[in-house]
């Protein structure tokens, strides 16, 4: 049995379930939109205030908290009716489960961002950044991969604990800070100045390194993490 076919089966199952129930997507989109409205009123104290240098931070803090909501739910459904046992009974490499769950979470985060970024631009960005869309998308993908790989690993570890709703943020938020710093810096530069790949290279490399570290870490530990 090929791991690729099993990967596709798990991703397809998660997408069908989510598109049917919209449990995760609706709560994440609502959270993101409400957070932006609150930011809009909280930071627009004076007419004409320049929020450009806050934009990257606002955007990524919103995405990270929205993802926390989604991560808790993505494993809650596996615990329903002990579906996780059914999955673990299958002859599937545990790393395939990790990669498929990470890919599913990545798809959900990208859907949220496809809705949220235009709304965010409408509220907070004064200059058009369409010319810098490619570097922005690269930063988005690299940061998303880090958020989803770390988030999936930690959601797996915390799902078997009684205080998983508390444990996940306690583990996730400190560890995601490096991604937050790099993604915020890169995004703010793009929104404020419009910058090419050259000045973002170090931040992108950092994000790539973070992604690699947590993908490898999950590779080595996921069997243990998803076990007992």
């Amino acid at each position: 049995m090929g791991g690729w076919a099993q990967f596709k089966a798990i991703v397809r199952k998660d997408l069908i379930r989510e598109l049917r129930t919209r449990d995760m997507l609706v709560s994440m989109i609502l959270f993101v939109i409400l957070a932006m409205i609150i930011f809009h009123y909280a930071f627009t104290v004076e007419e004409g205030s320049d929020l450009t240098w806050f934009t990257g931070g606002m955007l990524w803090v919103t995405f990270i908290f929205a993802m926390l909501l989604g991560l808790n739910r993505s494993f809650a459904q596996e615990k329903d009716e002990r579906c996780l046992d059914g999955l673990l009974l299958c002859p599937v490499d545990r790393v395939t489960i990790f990669l498929a769950k990470t890919a599913g979470n990545l798809v959900f985060l990208l859907i949220i961002q496809a809705v949220a970024v235009p709304v965010f631009a409408l509220f907070f960005i004064e200059r058009s950044f369409l010319g810098d869309l490619l570097p922005f998308l690269v930063v988005l993908l690299l940061a998303d991969l880090g958020i989803c790989s770390l988030g999936t690993l930690l959601a797996t570890i915390s799902m078997n604990t009684r205080s998983r709703d508390l444990l996940l943020p306690i583990l996730f938020l400190p560890l995601i800070v490096p991604v937050l710093i790099a993604a915020t810096g890169a995004t703010t530069l793009i929104f404020a100045e419009g910058t090419g790949f050259g000045s973002l290279a170090m931040r992108m490399l950092f994000l790539l390194g973070f992604d690699a570290v947590f993908l490898v870490a999950a590779w080595g530990t996921y069997d243990f993490a998803i076990g007992e």
Binding site: K13, R20, Q77, E81, D85, L89, C90, P91
Partner: protein
Amino acid sequence: MSDGQDRQDGGAPLEIEVEGLRKTFGRREVLKGLSFGVPRGGFLSIFGPNGAGKTTTLRVLATLLTASAGTVKVAGHDVREDPMPVRRAIGLISHNAMLYPDLTAQENLRFYADMYGLTDADERISDLLERLELSARRYDVVRTYSKGMRQRLAIARAVLHRPRVLLLDEPHSGLDPRAVDILDGLLAEIRDEHTFVMVTHNIAKGLEWGTKLMIIEGGRIAYEHAAGVDHDAFSAVYREHVHDGSVL
């Protein structure tokens, strides 16, 4: 001996071999050195009170828990060292359906068929749904099913990949009489081709199906006997070994 399948029990090679199985959760030792074997085609009925370690034993056989000590082989493969062939060889029917409530019966079985790499998935799914009288509801989400229907679908999930060994954890629990009949009918149909381990509180069912009977109490085997014991005699033995046990 070099391979578990070389060992014999009453003439048939052993399909399940357990030697000195111990399982600890924190400081609590739940299994305290179980040793038993089930020959190919055998049916082991395990009885015992709640908390005796029956389900833990089954979950170790199913590779869902790792033994703290001892060796466990299923279908000739060590469950810890070589779990993939074990997972291909086993099916688990539990009182938890292990089905995704927001997917249809068809989608649930298709998912598991893909996970097991079945090449004849469509035919197999249609055949099982027909036999389990679920064809008419195959495109309904499982959330709308009754407990009995879910349990029937759980049976289809467990036997979908044609496992050699079936592990049954309280399979009759919560079933209506019709679902019990369907489950028993299916078990009778596949009885000769499979090896079974059934954990149950239902002594009548355990005696009806079992070729070997076992009582686990406090993480140890308190009683082990070949089939052929009548209900009253076994109930007396059960009461003797399990002080707080109620028997059915």
